[in-house]
Symmetry: C2
Subunit: 418 residues, 2 copies
C-alpha cells in the first residue's frame, strides 16, 4: 500500500473516532493529541527542537515573518527577490526595514548585510527550491553569511519537503545526505549540519504530503514565543484531527522510504533529457521542476490550451507577473507516478504543440544569444541535486531507527492525555 | 442520522473517490467541483450572488479587509471595538485610515461617520454575535447608517452561521425570520432584506458546521475582484475535497432542519435561567453565549481548573486582554447535545465551585452597583433573539424548496465539468 493508501486509511480511522473537525482554536478546546503528534513528527523530521502547525504555510510565513518584524526591535529583513507571495506579505506586514537581494546572489546579499553594523538585528528570508524556475538556494553559503554578519535565517522548504533529503526533510537535509542517512532520526554526531544552522524552517503539508496545512520548526523557546504571540496561530480553528493524523502518517511514511523521491527524480531526468534532445527548451535547474520556455503570454496560454484540449494533458502556463515578460513558460512537475509511459505522451504532445504553434526551440534561442540559460553559450552545466549514487540507494540503506510506516495506535506516541 | 453522521459519511466517500488533498492552489490544479459546490451552497445560504472559500475565516477577514483598504483609494474603516483579532489584523494590514467605535454604540459610530464628507469611501466592519459577551450588533440600524453616510458593510457571522436564522444563515437572516422562512432558498418577494443590505458576510465552516475553513459572500463582481487580487486566496493550497464536501453537506443539512438551532437555544435558556436562580452571575445577552462573571483572573483560572479536575467539565477562563481587567469570566456555549441532564451537572458543578472559591453572586454584584449588566438596577431586560414562537416551529414549517439532506451524487449539482 502506497503513501496515499496509508494516509487515507489513517484519515478515515480518525474521522470515525474523533469526528469531522477540531471544534476550536488551539488554546480553546481545539488542542489535541493529533496536533501534538504532528508537531512532534515535524520537529523530528527537521531535527529541530519544536514545531508549530498553522492553517497553511501561507499563514505560517505571513504570521512568523510579520511577528518577527514587529517584535524584534530594529530588525532588518533581507529577502530573495523570487520569494513567495506569503513571505512578501509577512515582511510587508511586519513593517520592518527590508532589502530585496537579487535571486540567489550571494555577492549582492553580502553587500546589503555589510552595510549594517553587526549588532543590528538581521534576518535572511529565502526558499530552498524556487517553484517557477526550479533553482535551488546556496543554503550553506547563506548560513556562512548569516554567521559572518549576525543574521537569523528563515528557510521556506515548501517545494522540497517530502522530495529532498534521505528522509524527505528538504534540501537542507539533502546537503548533508550521507550524515543524515547514517544518523537516521538522530542528529549526526560531531557535525554541525546545515539543517541545524537554519533558525526557522517552514513547510507545507499540502504538496508532497498530500493533505493541507503548514508549519514552522526551530528552537523550543522561539516556537513557544510564536505560539504565544502570532494572531494567525492563536485566533483560528485547529485543522481537523483527520487532516493532522493523515499528515503525520504521510510524513512518517516518506521518512521510511526513499523510493518515491528517487522515482520523482528519475522521471524528471527522463522528461528533461527527452525534451532537450527534441530541442524543446527546458530552463536548466537542479530540481524536479521542468520549466519549458515559451517566451510570450499568448503562446504560453495557447500551448496550455492545446495540451488540454487536444492531448488531454493539464499543464499550467506561467505568465507575468509571476515571471518577467518575455520569460513566459509552461511549468511541469513530474511525480513518482509519472513514469516513462505517461512521460512519453507528454513529450510527444509538447513536440506536437511546439510544431503547431511554431514555438522557438533551443537552437533558435541560441541564435538570439540565449535566455534563462536556454541556448546560452556561457551557461555552466547544472548538476542534478540528487546524484547518481543517491538514486541507486535502496530502502535497506536507511538507518533502522527510521520509523516503520505501520501506524501505531492513536494516543500511544505523545504520552499526553488531552 | 444527525449532521455529524451525514458529514462524516460524505467526507469518507469523498476521501475514497478524490484522495486526501486538493494538490494545488485554486488557480493551479486545486480548483475542483467540491469548491464550486461549496461556494454555490454558501451563496445560496446567504442569498448573495457569490461566495469565495479561504483556508479559514481568519484568512478571509484578514485578506478581504486588507485588500479593501489597500485598493479602495482613501477608504476609511469604522471598526467595532470588540471586533475579532482577524478583522483587527486585516484593517491594520490594509493601512487604511480607521476609527474604532464603542461596542454596538450607534451614536458613536454616527458621530464618526458624520465627520467625513459623504463621498469619502467608508466601510463599517462589525460582527453579529460577539463571542466573549454574547452581545448582538444592531445590524439593521448599522445598515441605515451605512445608507445615510455612504458606507460599505462588512459583517462577520462566525459565531452565528448554522445557529441563527430559519436556515442557519446567521443573525442577518434571523432578523427577517418570517420572510426567509416563507421564501425558502429564494429571495423574499418585494422586500429588501437585511441580509441583502449587507455588502459582505464572512463566516466559518469550523464551528457550527464542524469542519474547517472560512468564506466571504457578496456581489459577484466583488467576489471576482477578491478572487483576482487577494494573495491569501491565490497563493495557498485549496482545502481537501473531503473537507469541502463535508462542509457542503453540513450546511445543507442545517438548512433543512430547525431542530439543532432550537435545541441549542432551549439548552441555553435552561442554563441561564437555572444559574440566575442560584444567583450565579450570567452577563445578560440575547445569544447562545453564557458568560459567567468572575471578576478577576486568578479566580477565573481556579474556577476553570476546579471544574476540570473535580467535576470533569472543561470550561475556558477568559482573561485580559480578551476582556478588560475586572471582567474576567468563564465562557460557556451550550450545544444542541447539552440537554437538561448534562446542564444539571454543569449547574451544580458551578454552584459548588462558586461556594468553594467564595465567588461573588448576583446580590453581591448588585450591592456594588452592578457590572456588565449583572446586578445593575438600571439594566433593561434583554430578550432572547430566538422568540418563543420561533422555538415552537417544526421542520414541517420550513419551505418545501429547502434542499433535502439526502446527499446527491457528486457532480450533479454544479453543472460545471472540472
Amino acid at each position: 500500500m502506497g503513501r496515499n493508501g496509508l494516509t487515507l486509511a489513517e484519515m478515515k480511522r480518525t474521522l470515525d473516532k474523533y469526528g469531522t473537525g477540531a471544534g476550536g482554536t488551539r488554546n480553546i478546546a481545539g488542542h489535541n493529541r493529533h496536533a501534538i503528534r504532528l508537531e512532534s513528527e515535524l520537529a523530528t523530521l527537521h531535527k529541530h527542537q519544536a514545531a508549530l502547525v498553522f492553517s497553511s504555510c501561507f499563514v505560517a510565513n505571513d504570521a512568523v515573518l510579520s511577528l518577527l518584524g514587529q517584535k524584534l526591535k530594529d530588525l532588518v529583513i533581507f529577502s530573495d527577490e523570487l520569494n513567495h507571495a506569503s513571505m512578501i506579505q509577512g515582511i510587508r506586514n511586519s513593517r520592518a526595514k527590508k532589502h530585496v537581494f537579487k535571486h540567489n546572489d550571494l555577492a549582492h546579499l553580502e553587500s546589503l548585510l555589510a552595510s549594517y553594523p553587526k549588532n543590528t538585528p538581521k534576518l535572511i528570508a529565502f526558499e530552498s527550491v524556487y517553484s517557477m524556475c526550479g533553482s535551488i538556494a546556496p543554503i550553506e553559503k547563506i548560513c556562512d553569511l548569516a554567521d559572518k554578519y549576525g543574521a537569523l535565517t528563515f528557510l521556506d522548504e515548501v517545494h522540497a519537503v517530502g522530495m529532498y533529503g534521505p528522509h524527505g526533510a528538504g534540501v537542507a537535509e539533502h546537503l548533508d545526505f550521507a550524515s543524515h542517512l547514517k544518523a537516521g532520526i538522530n542528529q549526526p554526531e560531531n557535525s554541525q549540519t546545515i539543517m541545524n544552522r537554519i533558525d526557522m524552517i517552514t513547510g507545507t503539508l499540502g504538496k508532497a504530503y498530500g493533505t493541507v496545512g503548514g508549519y514552522v520548526t526551530g528552537k523550543a523557546s522561539l516556537i513557544d514565543w510564536i505560539r504565544s504571540y502570532a494572531p494567525g496561530f492563536i485566533f483560528t480553528t485547529t485543522l481537523p484531527p483527520a487532516v493532522m493524523a493523515g499528515s503525520t502518517s504521510a510524513i512518517r511514511y516518506q521518512r521510511s522510504t526513499l523510493q518515491d523521491r528517487i522515482l520523482q527524480q528519475k522521471n524528471t531526468r527522463y522528461v528533461k533529457n527527452n525534451l532537450n534532445s527534441l530541442g524543446i527548451p527546458v530552463i536548466p535547474n537542479p530540481s524536479h521542476i521542468v520549466p519549458v520556455l515559451v517566451g510570450n503570454a499568448a503562446d504560453a496560454k495557447s500551448a496550455s490550451d492545446l495540451l488540454l484540449e487536444k492531448h488531454n494533458i493539464y499543464v499550467q502556463a506561467i505568465n507575468f507577473p509571476t515571471v518577467p515578460i518575455g520569460q513566459e513558460r509552461l511549468r511541469i512537475t513530474p511525480t513518482p507516478g509519472h513514469g516513462p509511459e505517461l512521460s512519453n505522451q507528454l513529450i510527444s504532445a509538447l513536440d506536437s504543440v511546439f510544431k503547431e504553434l511554431d514555438l522557438q526551440r533551443i537552437d533558435q534561442w541560441a541564435a538570439e544569444g540565449g535566455l534563462c540559460g536556454v541556448g546560452d553559450p556561457e551557461a555552466v552545466p547544472i548538476e542534478h541535486i540528487w546524484t547518481d549514487a543517491q538514486l541507486a540507494l535502496k530502502d535497506a540503506d536507511l538507518h533502522p531507527n527510521v520509523v516503520d510506516p505501520v501506524i501505531e495506535p492513536i494516543g500511544v506516541s505523545s504520552g499526553v492525555a488531552v
